[in-house]
Amino acid sequence: MESFFTRYRNLIVLLAILLVQIVGLAVQVRRTDEGRRTFDPKDPSGVRLIRLWAEGLVAPPERGIQSAKMTAIDVWQSYLYLRHVREQNQDLQKTVDRLRLEQAALLEDARQGERLQALLDFQHRYIYTTLAAQAIGSSGSDQSRVFYLDKGSDNGLKPDMAVITADGIVGKVRDVFPTTAQVLMINDQTSGAGVILETTRIRGILTGNASGRLEVVGILADDRIKPGEKVLTAGGDLVFPRGLPVGEVEKVVRDPDRDAFIDVIVKPAAHIDRLDEVLVITNTQPRFSPEEQQDLATSEAVMGAEAAAIKDQLKASEIMAERLPGLIDPNLPPEQQPLLDTSNPNPVTHPPQALHPDRFTPGDAPGTVPDSGAQTAKPERNPQ
């Protein structure tokens, strides 16, 4: 018996290690209500401990590498490579001025929208607070498109928080450790986000395919979907706020599994392959943030004179409209309003009946033929 173990020692060790791993895998896989198998999103405590150890071992060197890289970039961009900075600064100042004007113009619309949403009891979530974080590492596997942030639960991060850049959405926080967090990218095969096509208003589910490309699945074939159409978050997945840019339609292909459906290949708005700094949405509120309110106040102050002039013009036009004769008779029911009478395509309008007829009154002038229409017609307007 001893010779058996000695002789097949290598093979026994191999089988034992494989067996342990297979049993460990079986523990981590569960069956969904639809009968499909999937990984349990909540790691067992032992598995989480292994992940914690692995991340604790890899994160410090990654942090060091990333820090060195960012320092080098900062030195280069801040002190060495300063060509065209003055021109860029002037261009940016012009852009800021233009955006302030646009913002002020849109302010009233936004407030009206908020009032309407309040009336409809519709809670639309706006981005309230974000936390800037740096990407320090990845899983290293193209079958697992995750990356790690240099912020964790100590900084207030929690699972299922949305991760974005200024260009568009990137992913969501999947797992959180004390000083790091794992982000599941939107182009992973297990990822999913509710999206809507901007023009056609078609909704679908955004996920990743084997090659890491974004695709919207579960859409019935529709000829209206064209390349270049913007794709936005739909806001129904409780992760991404509504209206964030996702990308644009690159092409439309047939779903290989279902004939009536199509897959919409999406070019991501964010540069998800090369991320350095991202924003984690840590809180959403149905109102403007203090920073946004400050921006709006600034825009209002800048736009004060122009806004006052526009307001004066509007007031003058309203006064003028009140003085001019109206086309709506307040004494008539709605169905008898002259504007609604479509029986005569060219209706004849008559002057109102005189309160005190004199020789200039139509029909009373000598030598004229009485106009039956003028005499029998009811006054269609009241004198103003």
Binding site: R9, N10, I17, L25, R37, F39, I65, G140, D142
Partner: protein
């Protein structure tokens, strides 16, 4: 004398390294594997932990050590992903065992043989990974054969550069 027994050749040609190399090289491979894909973008056709596993398994010529090293590296990679822990572990466990077993029987000093072995073992690792995912666990996984082929080629190219460098670190008596 022309036909040497396997055990004799193993004893003669077994490679030894300083302890620091056993610790730092695998750790560096894991860190770089986690960091480099962010630099090279979508062209991450390499698997440094696999290359290092193959190198040490071929050099040490001990199937148990190769198995343990493969298991450790694979489990570590799994821990950094969102997948279940063990998928990469199984693949690299088998690769480590086979590499060490082959190392006992053939001349692994030849660079061409090492490259070919690296290429074949990379493909084997990918095949076991997909098998475990789709057949053993019954999970959905899309994969592309040419990606795995590119990865095997990438691993061979890296091995072509890395193996001679690591050879310099071995203890020579």
């Amino acid at each position: 004398m022309s036909v040497l027994g396997a055990n004799f050749r193993r004893d003669m040609e077994i490679r030894r390294y300083p302890l620091l190399v056993y610790v730092m090289v695998p750790l560096a491979a894991l860190v770089l594997q986690a960091w480099l894909p962010r630099v090279v973008g979508p062209y991450d056709y390499f698997d440094l932990p696999l290359v290092v596993t193959v190198y040490f398994a071929l050099g040490r010529r001990n199937p148990i050590q190769g198995t343990l090293m493969g298991a450790g590296m694979g489990l570590f990679e799994d821990a950094l992903s969102q997948h279940a822990i063990g998928v990469n572990g199984i693949a690299k466990t088998v690769v480590g065992f086979i590499a060490a077993s082959v190392g006992v029987r053939i001349d692994v000093e030849n660079h061409t043989i090492r490259l070919i072995l690296n290429f074949l073992l990379s493909l084997l690792s990918s095949a076991i990974f997909v098998f475990t995912f789709r057949v053993l666990l019954g999970l959905d996984l899309e994969w592309q054969w040419f990606t795995e082929l590119f990865r095997a080629i990438g691993n061979s190219l890296i091995a072509m550069v890395l193996f001679p460098l690591l050879d310099r670190l071995q203890i020579r008596e």
